[in-house]
Symmetry: D2
Amino acid sequence: MQNILNDIILSNKKCTANGKVASYIPELKNANIDDLGICVIDKDNNIYCAGDYKKKFTIQSISKPIILAMALMDNEWHHVFSKVGMEPSGDPFNSIMKLETNDTKKPCNPMINAGAIVTTALIKGKNLQEKEERMLSFFRKLAKNNSLEINKSIYESEKLTGDRNRAMGYLLKNDGFIEGDVEETLDLYFKQCSIEVDVVDLARIGLLFSNYGIDIETGERVISENISRMVKTFMVTCGMYDASGEFALRVGIPAKSGVGGGIMASVPRKMGIGVFGPALDEKGNSIGGLNILEDLSNKLELNIF
Amino acid sequence: MQNILNDIILSNKKCTANGKVASYIPELKNANIDDLGICVIDKDNNIYCAGDYKKKFTIQSISKPIILAMALMDNEWHHVFSKVGMEPSGDPFNSIMKLETNDTKKPCNPMINAGAIVTTALIKGKNLQEKEERMLSFFRKLAKNNSLEINKSIYESEKLTGDRNRAMGYLLKNDGFIEGDVEETLDLYFKQCSIEVDVVDLARIGLLFSNYGIDIETGERVISENISRMVKTFMVTCGMYDASGEFALRVGIPAKSGVGGGIMASVPRKMGIGVFGPALDEKGNSIGGLNILEDLSNKLELNIF
Amino acid sequence: MQNILNDIILSNKKCTANGKVASYIPELKNANIDDLGICVIDKDNNIYCAGDYKKKFTIQSISKPIILAMALMDNEWHHVFSKVGMEPSGDPFNSIMKLETNDTKKPCNPMINAGAIVTTALIKGKNLQEKEERMLSFFRKLAKNNSLEINKSIYESEKLTGDRNRAMGYLLKNDGFIEGDVEETLDLYFKQCSIEVDVVDLARIGLLFSNYGIDIETGERVISENISRMVKTFMVTCGMYDASGEFALRVGIPAKSGVGGGIMASVPRKMGIGVFGPALDEKGNSIGGLNILEDLSNKLELNIF
Amino acid sequence: MQNILNDIILSNKKCTANGKVASYIPELKNANIDDLGICVIDKDNNIYCAGDYKKKFTIQSISKPIILAMALMDNEWHHVFSKVGMEPSGDPFNSIMKLETNDTKKPCNPMINAGAIVTTALIKGKNLQEKEERMLSFFRKLAKNNSLEINKSIYESEKLTGDRNRAMGYLLKNDGFIEGDVEETLDLYFKQCSIEVDVVDLARIGLLFSNYGIDIETGERVISENISRMVKTFMVTCGMYDASGEFALRVGIPAKSGVGGGIMASVPRKMGIGVFGPALDEKGNSIGGLNILEDLSNKLELNIF
């Protein structure tokens, strides 16, 4: 396995030159464009790493399946899906149009920004601080890493430049899909996106979903089987923005990407995978990350279809 | 003329039963559904009133052509139209979709909410208070009525329920069409909509535009000929929300409606007209107001086409 | 007047270099890009021509207001507007999207392709041949020119490349807005677009609408006053594709353009104008034509607003 | 297994009352609304049937994955996906809008009508007759049933009422996504939809895909492993119209539905399933069929996620 990973990193290093680092906030622009790292943790808890696996980056949209799991644990199934849909949208992650043209006006699914703002608003807590603490401690529990923290300067930048997300927030408020204060919800949203992780954290989280919510080391049930399955399903149908269909065809593994360059993948019953490569393609997915996962899926026959 | 107006009010009284009073804020709900009033001021400064002409109501979207005039006086022509378009949209007044699907992402025109938020942001002033004072004094000058005031409780309600406008504001900010603070711009926008007027005020304002910007009593040039003409042009192509085309066909007079039930009309070289009837049709236009203007246009041959 | 026209042609000659000749069919590509011609016929029947006024070109979309007039003469007002709307669309002339997103699915207005296909389907006749004869003889009557003919090779080309219009036709058929055979309707549509005219023909037609449907020479009523007015109204709100709003602001004259390079304009009570310049801007309007009309409107104070 | 199927049919019989039989052509209207049948064929070639399993119905949209397989066998992978996309659309199956608003204007995927018209156009053959023969014989081979035939009267009805599909065809032709004659392509499309099958046929086809293209009885490779996998992937992301996401969450099995009331499901490595119930929900999926598959997935733990 270690040799496979080393080879894959090596052979995909050059494709990073075709991508671009996210630049909507200054902090992301500073990423090293040819960084490429991977971590695999299998169902026997073997950990394999290769490439730039020690680099830290912000989790960004990879927080979306995690917040969805939390929203489903904090609320009735039916309540959650009265506020957010279950369907892939076919539109870019930050599209507003569907909120107006859809019959229901509901965000299509929890993997696009509008949907994730809705699931964020469903996180319980008596005030913003408690919600933030509960959220951070849930991320830490899933990653089995108590040192996870919010990157303050990225959070500040996200907040400062987040007017498009703010627009969605107010539209969702207007249409009754979020209750409570919009700015507070957005604050929690920007914070969740700014949690700093590495590929080992992502592989650990992916492993938990692949193992249907049971901690492989302790046997503790962290997330219900049903919620674990639902999260993986959304990762397949909507996990890679408007390239989810192509990813399902070429790779066939539940996965979620973020503009920080990370991808968290979860192979049912087999392994969790974390990859990192900040060079993004036009859809906002890590170019190196996509190729690594495609190669790995082919080599290890991980395609679920 | 007085007899014509009396007859028209009388014969259109019953159609108000087919409409609905605006209800998105409690204050508007209390309007008397069968109120109907009109004022005509002709180019010789004769003033004719009929029906419930003494009723006061908030100006709502009728502020849009006035704010446009002010934005065009405060800024270069080209600067204004780099931020807002010149085309009818064919969509409802509060549509967001076009902001995303348009090539330019610019609001289509200054008569829909998004466009009016942009022109509001172009009003000059060293702070919000100065902008508000300048705005109110411009409305007073046009109406020749120094007692015009903002209805505080309607303003508060608009602000409280204005999340859809807030969503537009943040999207416009994100796309670079408004500078400065979004909440401040919206505050000024909600205030302008909450100015209380009567049909005499509207007729007076309409007369000024019909007379190409020259005060008929004093001979003072208040607005340039060119700006007066542009405002009337927008009133024709976009003045009655997404019923502007039908209104042009049936009535053929530059006019702007508001959900408060008012319509301000301006017949080039002939007269200004103010009408009021809070019973609205599905597009948000005063039912009684539309019919009154159609009858008046036919009787007095006011159609400009 | 003759001097004014000569000057205007001269001073606008160079702007044609910024445009492009229509190229969707080979026949249009051969037009001479810097051709520029004008004809004005005033209400005293004085005829003034300048520039390349003898050039012939196909009428293209300028047929739309004429077919609308004919449809309104052949059918009840309400029947026509149950099949086509009255509102500007804000979309390109060949947009299909609104046919799906509109509540009614009706074409927005008779000046865009979809709407004109509907009005074409409303032309009466016991078979295609009779419809074609009635149509051609109506165009000849309006232009007072019995030698008007369909350009066969352009008609053939239009028909051959008309798949987008064909798509609209079948969608309109599916949604119940056209009755009868789609291919027959399209045949009549392609034929009407392929009628060959010159600027004198267009000025003559414009004059008839400007004179509210009465032939200025014979006193014969050719079109009712009401229909004449409606046609001019549509020319203002939707006559210049999705640049109609800007044209109303800058020129303020009812006018209709075609991709053949012609524009027919109709100044109420004053004159008819035909211009020709095959260099088109991005919206499909004659660049030279727009500028000529703007200059003429300013010089002769023709703006109706 | 037989008992499970009997129970599931019994317990889901009553939910058919909530649905409606497809009515866009008269022939479909005559279906028996409470019919409900199922067939399972497992990897050991055991065949289990229950309910109204002998009923015949037209395959309708279930032909789409089969035609996709054929198009992928007849053409290079890259050529196919230069004409049709890989992404779920989030829109109804017969939506036209995306063909205009998408950057590429390509149909989103081969499971919606527009996309299936494109894959149909990619079927090889020197003329329509040969294409039809090749198509029919491919369906027969997959179903292992040489008596499959096109239902002539349904085909005639589809053709007669197919103006919306015709509109798509001409638009796709216009934009270069189909070559050759539109009417011929549509003819083949309407024919493929009108092939008459029963649930045993569907189960047999599903089994072939579940077994990665190898005939379980003869060991013959009928479809390549890669194409089999791609077809199942599309069935997950786009197989149930705009309810695909919900179906993936609740059932988690690759499946494709048709408005004739059939669903073909393919559980990787395990079994093929055919169900039939002509009572449809609002999205066009068989109500009884959905519930049967959900129960079966839960009972037999077939969810792939």
